[in-house]
Symmetry: C3
Subunit: 106 residues, 3 copies
């Protein structure tokens, strides 16, 4: 089994801008992404859940993961999402190093 | 683009204790966290789904992620959650190294 | 607090094969796993959501995470899932290094 080093970009932001975020991801050249419904609490509390009591049942956020095999594409996605949305919407984006089995897909 | 090293604490445990876990996270000084509904199977099977067949549709667990920029806070969260809940509830907690774009938020 | 290095295997694939994937995971000796409902877009588009517009609300995929404390088990799970399913179903699998608080559970 041969594993290849790759980067996983993670974006956690508000569900209402998910289409725009996916558009950015695709325009940067990524061929796929995974989306999970998420709740939570952020440091800015802009348009986010205000009471901890309702956090678990109110999934107004999304967590998007994109696996890319070059750092430049990861950087382009993160930078574009930040500049386009993070001034007006809650969001964070980070990178993780992974080892992937099917690099031929990226 | 400047990325900063940070720690991601992950806690996977039972949904019924989510409020208490979130309280611990906040009392340790974290400013935000992300919650995702999860199913699964654990090694202890305490109050968890007993049949594999129902695993996917029965999301009685939660996966909580907290991004912190110092190891001490990560340690405090993990240690407090373990001591408070993991004797009586199913749960695991682990750390991942990440590189984050917006460190000013933590 | 003592943290131990471990491997997290991640499998993202179609929900309809979740039982078979869980069977493989258990047959490889893993004692637990976590499942999250996921949507998304893949590079092959086999049996996956075709329109970006419906991505967020249509969670036809699953993301399974398995924490193991030896690389051989991680390799066996990834290899078996790939050989059994990835020719006919969409899917990716990757590894992440983690540091875990409760190694006695694996």
């Amino acid at each position: 089994m041969t594993l290849h080093t790759a980067e996983k970009v993670v974006i956690i932001t508000e569900k209402i801008i998910s289409k725009g975020v996916c558009k950015i991801i695709e325009s940067c050249g990524a061929t796929g992404y995974t989306i999970v419904a998420a709740g939570g609490k952020g440091s800015r509390n802009i348009r986010s859940t205000t009471e901890r009591a309702s956090v678990v049942d109110d999934f107004a956020n999304i967590k998007i993961e994109i696996i890319v095999n070059n750092y430049e594409m990861a950087e382009a996605i993160m930078d574009s999402v930040k500049k386009t949305y993070f001034k007006n919407y809650s969001g964070i984006t980070y990178l993780e190093d992974i080892k992937i089995l099917r690099p031929e897909k990226f």
